[in-house]
């Protein structure tokens, strides 16, 4: 899928000579081949399913991050939302509530927190990076205050089918990712709302002049990202069955990295859901492969940073060659 915004021509967006998805596919195949030649365990079904299970929560968060970045915003507080939502889920379980109540509580809380971000950004006109940085501190503070240095552990495993389950031989994670990305794709491509999102990302002033209710779209987009972080929290609890203090610390920056790897422009207006998903897969494959071939996992951030620099540089060179002002 080409990046949203590019194919119709009326929305500005870099027309890349080589689509970002192709670059990412080459990168994934390259690291995959490298790891496969170094470790016979890498290409086994069991390992790949493990990678998939570990990447579901990041993938879900990335879908929301893509929408936000297309809108020209950013949300560094998703890790905090995930953490607070996970606490609510954990304590609800401890209070003996059933799944049917716990899951809506978790997602509902996360949606409210996301909407709070949206209100601060849209109504109080705080730049999104500052607004979400501030709320991230507050959310992390809530996490520390509630959890106080101990883990919530021993949560029931009634939800683990979301991670470990299979349907006609396909892991459940595929369906979850498919559902989330499918819904976001429909929103983005087939709904006026998605067009409004792109329009705001391209030129907020013009979007306002043509009558788009910018504040409402922004609040809805941040709330949706919050809801997705809530789903990620449910998946996190389902996978690990505990809530620990450092939950969600790196996930926001990883999500931004994956989204930008996938072709989103941080200046807004351009982004690709498929690309973001491939970015997630690349990051998780590198994390997994480095461990398998016996290289310290500490190198993983170097690889992610290096690839980010490469794709950003390629983009910059191409923009310059095609003569668009920077």
């Amino acid at each position: 899928m080409a990046p949203v915004g590019a194919p119709d021509g009326f929305l500005a967006g870099p027309r890349r000579a080589v689509p970002r998805e192709v670059i990412l596919m080459v990168a994934i195949i390259a690291v995959g081949t490298l790891f496969a030649t170094q470790s016979e365990f890498f290409l086994t079904e069991r390992n790949l399913v493990t990678v998939l299970r570990n990447s579901v929560d990041l993938a879900v968060i990335c879908a929301g991050m893509t929408l936000i970045i297309i809108m020209g915003g950013i949300d560094v507080s998703v890790g905090g939302i995930l953490a607070v939502s996970a606490i609510f889920i954990g304590h609800s379980y401890k209070a003996g509530l059933p799944d049917e109540v716990v899951v809506p509580i978790g997602i509902g809380v996360a949606t409210m927190l996301g909407a709070l971000n949206g209100v601060i950004v849209a109504k109080a006109r705080v730049p999104p990076i500052i607004a979400t940085l501030g709320t991230m501190y507050v959310f992390i503070a809530v996490l520390f205050l509630v959890i106080g240095g101990t883990w919530i552990h021993g949560l029931p495993d009634t939800l683990s089918f979301l991670i470990r389950g299979e349907f006609v031989g396909i892991p459940a994670g595929v369906f979850i990712i498919g559902c989330v990305y499918g819904c976001c794709w429909v929103l983005l491509r087939w709904q006026a709302w998605g067009r409004h999102l792109c329009a705001i990302g391209c030129d907020e002033g013009s979007a306002r002049l043509v009558g788009i209710n910018i504040d409402r779209v922004k609040i809805q987009a941040y709330a949706l990202t919050g809801a997705l972080a809530g789903i990620a929290a449910v998946l996190y609890v389902a996978r690990l069955r505990n809530v620990e203090v450092n939950i969600g610390t790196n996930i926001a920056l990883e999500a931004i990295a994956a989204t930008v790897l996938g072709g989103a422009d941080i200046r807004g207006g351009t982004g690709s859901l498929i690309g973001a998903l491939m970015g997630v897969i690349f990051i998780k494959l590198v994390q997994n492969g480095l461990v398998l071939i016996g290289v310290s996992s500490l190198w993983e951030t170097v690889v992610i940073g290096g690839l980010l620099i490469i794709v950003l540089t390629l983009d910059a060179l191409e923009t310059r060659r095609s003569g668009r002002p920077t």
Binding site: I74, I120, A124, R125, V126, P127, I129, I130, A131, L133, G134, T135, M136, Y137, V138, I140, A141, V142, L143, F144, L145, G148, L253, I256, A257, V260, I266, R267, S296, L298, W299, E300, T301, V302, V303, I304, G305, G306, L308, I309, L312, T313, D315, A316, L317, T319, R320, T326
Partner: protein, 322 residues
């Protein structure tokens, strides 16, 4: 005259920050009997210079516009500190090692500068990428273990005190803060920085070399981070690969709290310095009162968002008043 001075948004901001700091001091002394002791002062000022240099660097980068931000300062601090300790362990004199570390800091800053000003990558993404890169290198090259063995003779900078104020506060922080203030307020370069931050096109047409200026500021930011690393090296007598973790966001917080506009063109050294003191007072006050670290994060986050909201309200009011 006096009325016009009060209308200056930055002056009002400074007064408001000073009031906030006074409130922090009063609250801290109320909640903890240990706070109003002479021994608190060096404790309070111990951490200020390191965070302070990063906050000042961030202020400069933001002021020049673009919009400018540098998320890689924490990683640059870790990496250049490790380089200093590693060179010393090879037998290089500690001061020469520090100098080499500062040169490395300038190089790391220049990498950001090239990505942002030459290639035109948005600063947020470029420095996020180098944050991953530099921070990852710091962890990977050392395997995550600190490099220690810094001699006691170098500890005078970070551990010694003169008039019960830490030496690195006197020797490095105060002169650098004054130099940066003079640079911003009384030199042509300072005016160019404000001009570039306010309207880069107009500044360019008037002959300001906007890209070169911003490149220089990113390099300067790397240097400031490396000087912070030298202070930390002297304080802990070891270099940790994760020494600067979290500092990038804290330095952005300080700069914005101090009144620097995130899109550039508005801000002063004085505001940033008071913001650093507020953050440090909060840290020490809550620590002495034995209140959870979490409250500190919560207060900082609320202050950060609240300060920008208040700014916006003030701007709206002025616009309505005509």
């Amino acid at each position: 005259m006096n009325e016009r001075r009060l209308r200056d948004p930055l002056r009002r901001r400074l007064l408001y920050l000073l009031g906030l700091w006074a409130a922090c001091l009063i609250t801290s002394s109320l909640i903890s009997p240990h706070f109003l002791q002479p021994s608190t002062l060096p404790f309070l000022l111990q951490y200020v210079p390191i965070l302070g240099l990063l906050g000042l660097g961030q202020t400069l980068v933001m002021l020049a516009g673009g919009p400018g931000i540098d998320l890689s300062v924490g990683a640059s601090l870790s990496l250049s500190g490790l380089a200093m300790a590693w060179l010393f362990s090879l037998g290089v004199d500690i001061y020469i090692a520090c100098l080499a570390g500062i040169v490395l800091g300038a190089l790391l800053g220049s990498v950001n500068g090239i990505l942002i000003t030459v290639l035109g990558i948005p600063s947020l993404m470029a420095t996020l990428a180098t944050m991953f890169g530099f921070g990852g290198l710091a962890l990977a090259l050392t395997g995550g273990t600190p490099i220690g063995g810094i001699p006691d003779s170098f500890a005078w900078l970070g551990q010694g005190r003169t008039l019960s104020i830490p030496n690195h506060f006197w020797v490095l922080f105060v002169p650098i803060a004054i130099m940066l203030h003079v640079l911003l307020a009384h030199t042509a370069i300072g005016s160019h920085i404000y001009a570039a931050g306010n309207d880069e096109r107009a500044a360019y047409l008037l002959g300001v070399k906007v890209r070169r200026l911003r490149f220089g500021l990113y390099a300067l930011n790397g240097v400031l981070a490396a000087i912070g690393a030298a202070m930390m090296l002297s304080w802990f007598q070891a270099a940790r690969p994760d020494a600067g973790r979290g500092m990038e966001l804290l330095s952005v917080t300080i700069a914005v709290l101090g009144g620097t506009h995130i899109f550039g063109g508005l801000g002063r050294v004085s505001g940033t310095v008071v913001a650093i003191m507020i953050v440090a007072t909060l840290q020490v006050g809550l620590q002495l009162a034995n209140i959870s670290h979490a409250w500190q994060l919560g207060v900082i986050g609320t202050l950060l968002v609240g300060s920008v909201v208040l700014d916006n309200l003030g701007t709206l009011k002025r616009l309505r008043a005509g």
